[in-house]
Subunit: 234 residues, 2 copies
DNA sequence: AATTCTAACTGACAAATGTCATCGTTTTTA
DNA sequence: TAAAAACGATGACATTTGTCAGTTAGAATT
């Protein structure tokens, strides 16, 4: 009895947040027996573009960026994954090597679940398969929106939108600062622009009184102004 | 016996190209009995952004663009769907209204399949559900690539890539012209730029001898040069 | 065949963005 | 704690892209 009960998947709160919630207690027990909990330090990779994954990583604590190196040497961040999200799900489904890298943006705890156990459940538990289907359909819709934004919005709008997204996704601390600290370069890599352009735009927002900063920390002061910018109401 | 046999799903060649191939002959017969074949004229909509879809459209002949209107009034084309592709699959899965519009780029024949029949199969036939899962996982991967390209590549590179994509996807006629004719504006809407910028870039490619044109028709002459441009080898 | 309409194309200019260089500050590491 | 590395910030400038205005060519309609 060396494991605490909360280290068992069937008791893990995180599971409620992802597709694993569609599994029965019995199935979760099987998965839990084969899973492996790992800690990952800020800045360390969880996996790299091109890796063949033999399982998925369930994020228990911390945040990871999923990014892809572009030909011009910039690292485009496609997604930020937090508590409850499963990394590598797609690669396991398609049996292809992953097209993204995952790097920890903070110290993390992740559970590694070997794919054999998932595969069994995908083949047998239609409820589980359906949950994954729902999730992927939603991700696909979200991806369409990102494509449209990338193509049609300018850097100013995309930065405003990213700030709004970060606050919405990660919340605020007691002082109102966004509870997710990214470097300016990482923000630029989400937005798809140069870090200088990103810094300059943040400075403009600051001067306009729409945001305030303290070191890397950012606080949205005027939500409405940011919203209007995003929507293109100048 | 009013229908020709090729109008029955179970005999339709198109089915081999999409997830319906995972259905049994019996299931296909049921679907075929409830499907409705429609013709759509070039320029006509199949459905509009925000519509609630009560079924999917299987493209039997012709090409449709799937696009989304952006706030600045531009119509971003997210996907071109040809023979064999299913439109509206995601909306049916998530039960949400569609986030994209579908408009015919050529005269089309599409089969409308009411969702009730698909839903039944999704719940009961794990092979079918898995096929959809595979397909969505691949689409998601493709979407990631598009996001990275949109964010990191310039207009010149994206136009070059679009030409390559069009030739690869739709093939060439006897004279070597791409067998898919888009207006310059539609090309611009795939690339996510203004039509003037698109036209100018095509002119440059033409002057460099990398492509040649005849009216709207485009022929890639120097594949290698285009490829180098896409990859950023100047 | 004349007219109308749409799309292709071009020029001129403004605005947005990328690149390079530099410097002070903060964070990390030895 | 000192040194090194990473990061934030800003200026200067080149390049890319968007916008507006207008002309030409071809297709569709009458």
């Amino acid at each position: 009895m060396s494991e605490h009960t909360e280290q068992r998947c069937e008791n893990c709160i995180v599971r409620r947040l992802n597709t694993l919630k569609a599994l029965t207690k019995e199935e979760l027990k099987n998965i839990s027996d084969s899973k492996e909990t790992k800690t990952v330090k800020k800045g360390d990779p969880i996996f790299n573009e091109g890796d063949r994954l033999n399982g998925v990583f369930c994020v228990r604590e911390g945040v990871s960026k999923l990014s892809k190196m572009s030909d011009n040497g910039k690292d485009q961040i496609v997604k930020l994954a937090k508590r409850g999200e499963l990394l590598g799900q797609r690669s396991v489904i398609t049996e292809q090597s992953t097209n993204l890298s995952a790097v920890a943006l903070s110290d993390m705890t992740v559970c590694y679940i070997p794919k054999s156990h998932l595969k069994d459940n995908i083949s047998n538990n239609i409820k589980f398969t359906n949950a994954i289907l729902q999730q992927m359909a939603n991700e696909l819709k979200f991806a369409d929106d990102v494509i449209v934004n990338m193509a049609q919005k300018n850097v100013k709008q995309r930065i405003a939108e990213t700030l709004q997204y970060l606050e919405h996704t990660f919340g605020k601390d007691e002082e109102g600062y966004i509870k997710m600290i990214l470097t300016r370069e990482d923000i630029a890599n989400v937005v798809g622009t140069a870090k200088e352009a990103c810094i300059r735009q943040l400075t403009k927002f600051k001067k306009a009184g729409w945001i305030s900063t303290d070191g890397k920390r950012i606080k949205i002061v005027d939500h409405k102004a940011l919203y209007n910018t995003i929507e293109g109401f100048e």
